[in-house]
Amino acid sequence: MHIPDGFLDPKIWVGASALSAGALAAAVSNTRKVLEDRQVPALGVMAAFIFAAQMINFPVAGGTSGHLLGGALAAILLGPWSAGLILTTVLVIQMLFFYDGGLTALGANVLNMAVIAPWVAYGAYRLVGGLFKGNAGRTVATFLAAWLSVMAAALACSLEIAFSGTVPLAVVLPAMLGWHALIGIGEGLITVVVVSFVSRLWGLEQTGQKSYAGGAQ
């Protein structure tokens, strides 16, 4: 889902970069309230974790595979503000070291995967988790949060590419959403396992209590 350089119109990437910059500025000031600057090393380890988790492929169908995006995972376990910072760091490193996503498209990639994905996941998790109580409710909420976060990121990505005039909307939208609807299932399943495992271990009533950023409070 990483958009490379040259696929976006200047209007689109400048706009997306401005939105991302605003979101990140809010994230910095919000995490600073709860999180002391000193805890940055711990956040760095979590970013390295997300980076490693994205390396694990899962089977999709017919020999193809997908991999975790981690937006929902980070948002549910660490809160959406810290998730934004962590995922942005991961995207910057992927861009600088692996050319995964373009320099000019960085703002758009951050918007899709580090702002929209965690916030959609967080919103869905709180909303659905509030509707259905108990363990089953949390499972459903986690799965939906992860699936929706992948779909929202894919939707934003297709819209950005289509409005730049690179690929017609009628082509990119079904292709991206169709594929990511499948990827989202894998993301959802893995996120459910991870969140239930971690919260069992932490013995949390409410996930996010241990959050660095306190975003989940």
Partner: protein, 317 residues
């Protein structure tokens, strides 16, 4: 009484299972041949080699390109990428890429290494060139009819694909030039000069540092899982696969979390206060600025050439 578990009895699958098949459709050869880590669980952690490559400037560090002020280089390269990805003509893009190749050669970077790292572009460009003629409307140059099914390939389609591939190629060359001649530390110094919040600079530094550690942890876990006879399923509804992978990631999360706390406490014990000592960069010299201006002016020149060329063509009509 433990219930018999079908996966225990299943013989290990030979040949091209999902694990050994390194092709992933969504990110085909995502990190190219330089990053075997990504491709299944048994790959080696070549990611560290890639990271190593850019932590310290590559090539002959004596070249004058390496000694240019990092701030000037960051501005020049970002400007170059911005301007050159707006180019639409193949000539302009080819000239931009050629200029960057000359810069890369002038910096005496290892071209062989660069070529290896550019290989991942080929499947990407190939897929685009095969696919785009069928999805971009335009003048048809090839048609295939079979019953009611008609496939039409358009000239605009493959030209568009070629242009996009050239843009990506140019941008990759530019980023490689910046990273390989500057090294991460100096790029971050430049970014911090440009008022990128310190929290990001520090986060990037810490993340790079711990990618090795967490990656090694993951590799050990993958080996252990393989040693226990884990064979991943082939589709999304293979419960055991997802439970196992989920647990791997969960344990990795817990271990990373605890490691993060240990590191934080150890750093506090050594007097870490969250402040980073910012080394003030000396002001860029005239030589640095001249080179920056030259790189930028090439990009501006190409852009003007393209606009001018267009006007010239229009005036002929």
């Amino acid at each position: 009484m433990v219930k018999a578990r079908p996966w225990r009895q299943r013989p290990a699958r030979k040949g091209r299972g999902v694990t050994s098949w390194s092709f992933s459709v969504n990110f085909c050869a995502r990190y190219g041949n330089s990053m075997k880590w990504h491709k299944g669980w048994k790959g080696s952690a070549d990611v560290s080699q890639v990271v190593d490559h850019f932590l310290q400037p590559g090539g002959h560090s004596g070249s004058f390109m390496h000694r240019l002020d990092p701030r000037v280089k960051v501005v020049a390269v970002v400007g170059f990428v911005v301007l050159s990805t707006m180019l639409t003509s193949r000539t302009g893009l080819a000239l931009a890429a050629g200029f960057l190749l000359v810069l890369t050669a002038a910096a005496r970077l290892h071209l062989r290494q660069l070529a290896g790292r550019l290989l991942w572009l080929l499947p990407f460009a190939g897929v685009m060139i095969l696919l785009f003629p069928f999805i971009i409307p335009g003048e048809p140059f090839w048609r295939w009819e079979w019953g009611i099914l008609t496939l039409t390939a358009t000239r605009e389609g493959w030209q568009h694909a070629l242009m996009l591939s050239l843009r990506v190629f140019t941008a990759v060359l530019a980023v490689n030039f910046l990273m390989a001649t500057t090294g991460l530390r100096r790029v971050l110094e430049a970014l911090s000069f440009f008022r990128v919040p310190a929290v990001f600079i520090q986060l990037i530094e810490f993340t790079i540092r711990y990618i090795y550690v967490v990656g090694d942890e993951l590799r050990r876990m993958n080996t252990a899982r393989a040693a226990r006879g884990f064979v991943p399923g082939r589709h999304l509804f293979h419960r055991h696969t997802f439970r196992t992978l989920g647990q791997t990631i969960a344990v990795l999360f817990i271990r990373s979390w605890e490691r993060g706390e240990r590191i934080y406490h150890a750093m506090l014990a050594r007097g870490y206060s969250g402040e980073n000592r910012k080394r003030a960069l000396p002001p860029p010299g005239g030589w640095d600025l001249a080179w920056g201006a030259f790189i930028l002016s090439v990009a501006i020149g190409l852009r003007l050439f393209e606009l001018g060329g267009l006007i010239w063509l229009l005036s002929l009509k």
